[in-house]
Amino acid sequence: MGGVPTRSIVRAGLIGGAIAVFVALVGLYTKFADLALVGEQITLGRLLIIAPALVAAYAVTRPRIVAGERRSVPFGPGVVVGVMTGLVGGALFAAAVAFADWFGVDRIREVFVAVTEQLIAFLTFDKGVPGGLPELIGFCVVGGAIGGFARTAPEAVRRPASAGVLAVILFGLLQRIIPIVFVQLGFEADWLYDRGAGLTWFGGLIVFVVAAAANALWNRDGGRTRERVRRNVEQAPAAKVGLFVAILAILTIVPLLLGTVISEVLGSVMIYVLLGLGLNIVVGYAGLLDLGYVAFFAFGAYTTGLLTGAFLNTTTGAATPALSADLNFYVAVWIVALLAAGVGLLIGAPVLRLRGDYLAIVTLGLGEIVSVMTASKWAQPLIGGPQGMRGVTKAEVFGLNFQDNPQHFYYLALAFVLLAAFVSWRLSTSRIGRAWNAMREDEQVADAMGVSTTKFKLLAFALGGAIGSMGGALFAVSIGSLTPASFEITVSITALAVVIIGGLGSIPGVLVGALVLIGLPGLLREFEEYRPLIYGGALVAIMILRPQGLIPNVRRSRELEEEEVSQDVWARDAKGEAEAVAAVLPGGSLGVEREDLE
């Protein structure tokens, strides 16, 4: 069918159905069943019914290499293939639902806790088994058709259409922000959003049309306009400055528009931007995978507490720590950063010889040692142990209160972020940045070329440590009390995910990564429980599909493009036959496969 073997269609369909069953078992459907995106009909839960078939169909209609020639699937057959994929997937999914209903929901729930009557009702559209099953299969078929369409439709149609759909989903997910912005700016939001729910039908249509039109305009005459604008921006420093000023302006205004609740979320985004910037120096620039970054975060937070006169929680009340000072925050934070740089050197020095994965494991171990210590009774006299400490300074200045007012805190965090971003940016384009680059690409060659790898590795650890500790200091100021639960390995992993998903070595990438990973789940409380699941899945997916991240570092993605056919392309399949070059290119698709030659 359209050059796609039947076996592949069936396999893709079955995989899609299996993914849908997985999503059901893990509890995502029950969680998101009622989160309306557009009107009352299009909910995130229903979108999740469509999604597996869509992804499967999109993957199976990819271009194939037949007899050394790259062949795309034509439009019409592409959609048909998608429909068939959806049909197979839907059949499997419906069979699973029917089985669950027949076998008894209560018996299955003894193992899989997410399988409930509500789940079955949701998946059968309240019509029960078997009445609702055709509808379920129908949804999967629609998903498959959309998947086939999204891959094989003419570019002039599918690009604007995808942009429109993505914009509608994004606007739907941001339903708790955008109305507030509208009201703050003095506009009506009622035409766009239902109160306390998703977009209205009319609003969704407008968003779709505007986004699709913008995309079509941007890509007109086959992408030449886009390329020209991009080249002009790259070559004109003024345009870059303009872009930077615009981003800065948005970052400055945003909390004023959004009120305190959302500013709180933005504050934690900023803390992770800071952590991401610090970790980016270590991992992105110097190429040293650090899995124990929480050590610096904890160090910064607790040291700030000690230096600014916080006291320990005890069963009887409060106690003074064994070591304590009563400094102003703005003095203390620099001392903290300096000390943390020292800790970075101390950690860095003994592990200099180790490379790659061993380094990662040692840093993981050091990070875990810090986590275990903060929670142990042994550390009680100094930092409170399991009970922690409270009364960290509020760091007030000019009447701004950084602890009780999230909007004010956001600006404090923004100031530190700008500082760290400036330092990162200047370093990355300097001699030091080039030395890191050389070291990351090939340590032995860099050494032979006269780059003192010892010095630059230590510098990376020290700087990364200093910035990470500032993140900790800010965290301490923002919440005022510290408990060991805030300093677990999840911090390290989250910061790493921010850096990697944003794009290794890319400063805007860190901002985007933090907004996506911290901001989005922070706005939709429903996500909270599934945050680690999504982070884990995202890490795997991004490493396989788009290793350069969402906003790639310009230099690095250029390297990837240049070497697309050389040894650095890792997205080949195991036999080393297929040339899945497309997978690593920016905007790349799921890759080309060569299975027809078997």
């Binding site: 003894e110 180790l354 994965d357 275990v372 142990s376 009774k377 195991a574």
Partner: protein
Amino acid sequence: MATATDEQVRGAELGLLERLPWRRIILVVLSIVILAVVVIGAYKTLTLPADQRYTTTTWKDFIILGLAQGAIIGLIALGYTLVYGILRMINFAHGEVFMFGAFGAYFFSHAWEESGFLDSNPALSMALLLVVAMLVSMGVAILLERVAYRPLRNAPRLVPLITAIGASLFLANTARGFFGAQSRGFGVPAVLEGTWTILGVEVDRIQVVVLVTVIVAVTVLSLFVSKTTTGKSMRAVAADSEIASLMGIRVDRVIVITFAIGGLLAGIAAVLFSITFESVSFTMGFRPGIAAFTAAVLGGIGSISGAALGGVLLGLLQSIGPALILTGYGIPSSFQLKDAFTFLVLVLVLIFRPGGLLGSSEAEKV
């Protein structure tokens, strides 16, 4: 230039002088400090007043506990070592493979506990539990390899590691979504409660079962790797996968088999771990996973006997270490620091002898 001037030569020497010693000095000072801390701590503990001192029986219990837990850690460590030997990658998600095996066994043991099968047929039910856990863990391990690792076969080394971290997080939270966040009690056949007296020493029955099972499993594994054709091809791929594929060995198949064997061993370990601690939860994979990785590194990663030895040593260290060394300094609840101890051992091994006890010390290659 044909001849190097004196100045250049001296410069090079200076460079050496500047570089080498201070790191050496740090390492030497570090090792002296650690040695001193350990010796003084042990001395202090052993010379505590008689009423605060641990009795000989307690020490004996510590040792047996350490052996049993070390044996379990060793089994998990074998999974790391096998995969590392062949792919040169740390399968960070191996702890989660272990966790899934434990859940697989839990659901059967829970059902059999209620029906009375567990107590009426303890030997048969334990054997079946082992089979279930082995199959579940093997399935997860194979799926993991296929979905997450195979597409990255030729990637730079850090890429599979980051993927593995992601996979670990994903699998742990999948289990949370599937089975719920609360931990569940794992039933043990009544026969296994209590102690047996072996050579005049009272030993928990479960620990006897654990030790015997592990010894059998490791023996079977070493026979498999050294005697069978598949075992030989595993060793060939570990030595040089490119040459092995030229010799007609299907490398991909060997890799899948390796993951499968790692999964089988993790499944055994999962049942033994669950009957020892009598509970399963979605977070149970992380700490034993790290401990097992430490054991593999301690013994020399890539070496099968090394993993077993490392496991036993680490188990002993975990059970005796905090009590022996930390109690002397008057540190309260020294067992809380057990895991910090594990990580410290890991860090020190990697710093001082990255090749491990039984491996060659080639830090530059890692």
